[in-house]
Amino acid sequence: MIGFVIVSHSATLANAAVDLAMQMIHGEPPPVRIASGADSGFGTDAAAIADAIDALAGEADGVVVVTDLGSAVLSSELAIDLRSSTVPVRISEGPFVEGITAGLVRAATGGDLDDVVAEVDTALAAKRRNVPDADPGADTDTDTDTDPGAGEADGDREVRVPVGSDESHGAEDANGKEPAVSARATLRNPMGLHSRPAALVVKAVGAFDADVTVANATTGAGPASAASMVALLALGATEGDVLVIRAMGADAADAVETVRQLVIDGFGEAEPRA
């Protein structure tokens, strides 16, 4: 499993961020070491970071370093020069709280070093998607977003598509080459696909030999990799939105059905179906 070294100017901050992230872990957690403070004050200590990396070397297949403010990166780079072990180490550019959370979830489901680093690096995407457009003159009736990649899913509820029934069926992939399995399911739990349900989806698909994606048919967002909590959160899917779950691979049908079941069960958060 991939391990983490959390580098922070503050031990309090680092411990709280790790505690928060651990709320999302259901099962064996990835190994985590904290390197925080310098000489018992605020700061970062490259020697302590190097020790933390070396301490993980025996139990981790790779180490992701997640940092807080600027000089934490400098100290981490120096630590990689100073360490004595040879375990692969990468410093992530991702945000501290979101990155630790998304990275731990990905690592707990068996992601390799590239997977986990990518997850931490892109952990701001979900928040970006959820923060309303800051343009004070924005008209909610028309799409004034100048970013061609971000326009469709910014909370504009006028683009709803007809809501289909919750059923699954086999289908050809869009390019017609590989058979894909897909299903539609409507989100029932009040908070939608927030972090806890997203973590459940990531964990569920990790058990299958299948590449699974989830798209938000209601807003047009996605498809997002179901192995990525961040990508799932970026769908901005809320109660009543219709998700399209799609998979390819040996276990595609089982993977799709498992995710569909999670959705229609409301991830255990919804009122029982009448």
């Binding site: 310098a38 700061g43 970062t44 490259a46 020697a47 600027g70 000089s71 100290s75 780079e77």
Partner: protein, 215 residues
């Protein structure tokens, strides 16, 4: 006056630096409170005080050992970017130091340049970014130039210190592009960069140590 950079010169240098940082800690911290997090003076003083303790406990026997001891102590005790950057300076000087207990002015010039190159590689700062590099870069150039023209070690070290002081003074109007001061943007102009001030202090202390050490 020493005509070679001996272990004696180097020890005198860091001990004098610790004393100067003690005297200047308040001023450095005041500079840092204008554009940073108000801890550069206390951090540097803490680091160099710790180095003095290490030298007292176990005097280094070689140039390489001296630089490594200083570098690792700064890394662990200073904290923040200046700990990693000054730590890298001394660690990289140690990697490039000649064997033994003494080096010539030309070797010192090369070793300091290697240390500064390490700092640039670590911090990615360029001249004009309002960092310690604005003091180090002209100092390395002045040192190299003096040595190339046959100057004595004392004169070359003094030229380097003067160049560092001028480089530091020139940071005042600059807008910071690196480190926490860069969060201030235009508001960072009008203040000296604290890191460049401590660099100038260290290089002046070195020049004085060369002038004062017998050998």
């Amino acid at each position: 006056m020493a005509d070679a950079v001996t272990l004696g010169v180097l020890e005198r240098w860091v001990r004098d630096s610790a004393a100067r940082l003690d005297a200047e800690a308040e001023r450095l911290t005041a500079l840092d409170s204008a554009i940073g997090d108000a801890d550069h003076g206390t951090n540097m003083h803490r680091g160099f005080t710790a180095i003095v303790g290490k030298l007292d406990a176990a005097p280094p026997q070689t140039l390489a050992e001296f630089f490594k001891t200083v570098g690792m102590t700064l890394v662990s005790k200073v904290g923040g970017a200046s700990g990693s950057l000054y730590g890298t300076l001394f660690l990289d000087m140690g990697k490039n130091a000649p064997e033994g207990t003494s080096m010539s002015a030309a070797e010192w010039s090369r070793v300091l340049a290697a240390g500064v190159a390490g700092v640039v590689g670590r911090g990615h700062a360029e001249p004009g970014d309002k960092t310690m590099i604005d003091a180090f870069t002209p100092a390395v150039a002045a040192l190299d130039d003096a040595v190339a023209h046959g100057a004595s070690l004392a004169d070359a070290a003094a030229a380097a210190a003067t160049a560092a002081e001028q480089g530091s003074a020139a940071t005042e109007p600059l807008v910071a592009r690196k480190g926490r001061a860069s969060y201030l943007g235009e508001r960072s102009a009008g203040h000296l960069d604290p890191g460049s001030v401590s660099t100038a202090l260290l290089l002046r202390a070195f020049a004085d140590a060369v002038a004062e050490e017998r050998g």
